[in-house]
Amino acid sequence: MTNDQIKQAILQIISVIAPDEDLSHLKGDVALREQLELDSMDFLDIVMELRKRYKVEVPEADYGHLASLDSCVTYLAPKLKDK
């Protein structure tokens, strides 16, 4: 997957998890929690959706890498490059 495809995949997952949030003006380099109402249950679901859709594993120690859209893409790029 290209970086842009990964970004779209994350946005798709967030729209499934939090359909009532407005994702149109999200800044890539700002923490998601500062721009959206996402709590730890929602972050667990991001991880679970990544596993469900792309068979990618994110260990609990790496959850911090999912803080912003940009950091998600950076972290997931090597894991998703063949998908």
Partner: protein, 464 residues
Amino acid sequence: MSSGHYDAIIIGAGMSGLAAAIRLAYFDKKVCVLERHYAAGGLNSFYALGGHQFDVGLHAMTNYVPPGTRGAPLTKIYRQLRLKPEDFGLAPQYRSEVRFPGVTLRFTNDFDFFAREVGERFPAQKDNFSRLLQHIRDYDELDLDAKPLSGRQVVSRFLTDPLLIDMLFCPLMIYGNAAEHDMEFGQFVVMFKSIFCEGLARPREGVRRIITALRRKVREVGGTVRMKCGVRSLHIDGGRVKAVELDGGETLTADTIFSSAGYVETMRLCSDSDPERFSGLAGRMSFVEIIHVLDKPMKALGHDTTIIFYNTGKEFHYEVPADLVDPRSGVICCPDNFHYDKPLAKSMIRLTCMANFDRWASLDEPVYRQAKTEWLPRIHQEVLKFVPDFRDHIRFTDFFTPRTIKHWTGHVNGAVYGAPDKMKTGRTHLENLFICGNDQGFLGIVGAMLSGISMANLHVLKKT
């Protein structure tokens, strides 16, 4: 399916069991829900009698917030179960009341209305009440490791008027307290937020709407629900549940078992348990409820209040009564009095009082029926102090007791809020058996769903 092995088996197709099933099946776990009864919903199920459909437990759903309200438990539920507000079709209440001798506190789904009401009725407590509100807002009631505190003791540090204290505890206890006399402070906060800060609502179709939405979702995500499938025992070996034996003798296996049957009820299923060991742990709070179908809505008689929590005695007593019923306090629910898009097909009124399971259960059938006949006018006598006389408008009556509740749900003592000591983490002495529902700790329809969701997240989804 042929091997009968699952990732998870869930005992009970009530609100917590169905919610846990949705979470697990959505994330591709092979899930089977086992329900003893022919209807889903458990303590919040529905039934038909005399050509009318009734809800077992639903007066109103607590925790109501308008769609899109961020951070609220109901919004969390929609998200976690991948549901939309339209799935539940919740209509907000008109206005409810707490009525004690000489004082009425009204409340709506707008918290500021209630705060002003308290300030007007108890001006000397206004600042105390503000400080209590701040403490409630700062308190993390979802902390599963928090130390239990006495609700009455904590609240008494802020409020100095015993009448106001009782008037606050009355609705919060009746709608969500498993213990007698006092209430754990964390639970006080949960109920305070769910009733006063958030609000009350009801689907026009009653609880059936919610159960249908949950069951549809379970199917959509590939979970299985088996009705009329009671569990006879759990085979234990090496600290684990090795097999689930059904009433008919069939056995199923699963990596993990969640039980919403109640802690004591579940322990009695375990082959390694001495059933008597657990008897003292069961909850005891149960109720009688009279449901009248009316030929016109209470609104037509001039009554547009949604729920009334009343107390006619000097103090408020939240305890198992010595007698069959304690008529001094209770709930009057008018299901018509919500903001539906069209009126209810059938008007009703529901009258609820605390009741003694052991006394009702000990009555032979004819004495049982006679007791209902005697108690109906006694309950009416108290209730008619608060609502217009509806008796000439009664078309049909059902009267259920703690014995009825136990019969249909299997919950010991017909307890509607589970045991007083909650198992917040859901863990049992067995590695792969977890409790969800009332005995885990979150109460009410929203609470039960959150319980199933939390336990599924904690014990299966986070771990794989």
